[in-house]
Symmetry: C2
């Protein structure tokens, strides 16, 4: 997937807030959107960027789409950072 998209994705404050919300468990697009003043379309766009960056996963359940964090990709970010701080992770 590449670290570029991922690091770019977390550079936006709205998207980081979405990630923070998902810390407490999966949520629908609507539930996420309720925490912001932006329109649903805008939140949908951010969700799309996060998904495309691998940071979140989506699962369709009937009328709703549930989003949740994808820990795997957070580990990749961790690897990138620890390559600087010295604490050695894979690669």
């Amino acid at each position: 997937m590449g670290i570029q998209k991922t690091l770019k994705a977390i550079g936006d404050p709205t998207r980081r807030e979405i990630l923070d919300l998902l810390k407490s468990g999966e949520k629908t697009a609507g539930e996420i959107g309720q925490n912001f003043e932006a329109t649903g379309a805008t939140i949908s766009h951010h969700l799309s960027v996060l998904k495309n960056a691998g940071l979140i996963l989506d699962e369709k359940k009937g009328k709703y789409i549930y989003y949740e964090l994808n820990m795997t990709v957070f580990e990749e970010i961790l690897s990138w950072v620890t390559a600087f701080t010295g604490g050695n992770k894979d690669e």
Copy 2:
């Protein structure tokens, strides 16, 4: 300084390459620039963004300006990531 500037700064590939170059020790703006096709002005701009984000420090030595990594801020990024991965940042 705030994590926003920092995460935004590492979202650009040229800037990440600059950070990678500095892993092996401090370098002048000119030395850094030699690794890219971009003009000196462009590299200078990226150095300015990185410095403003706290990721690098600069020290003027006569005719040259030396840049080096600022580990402190990398630790901040690490904290942000580990808040997701559940890893304990206090140990």
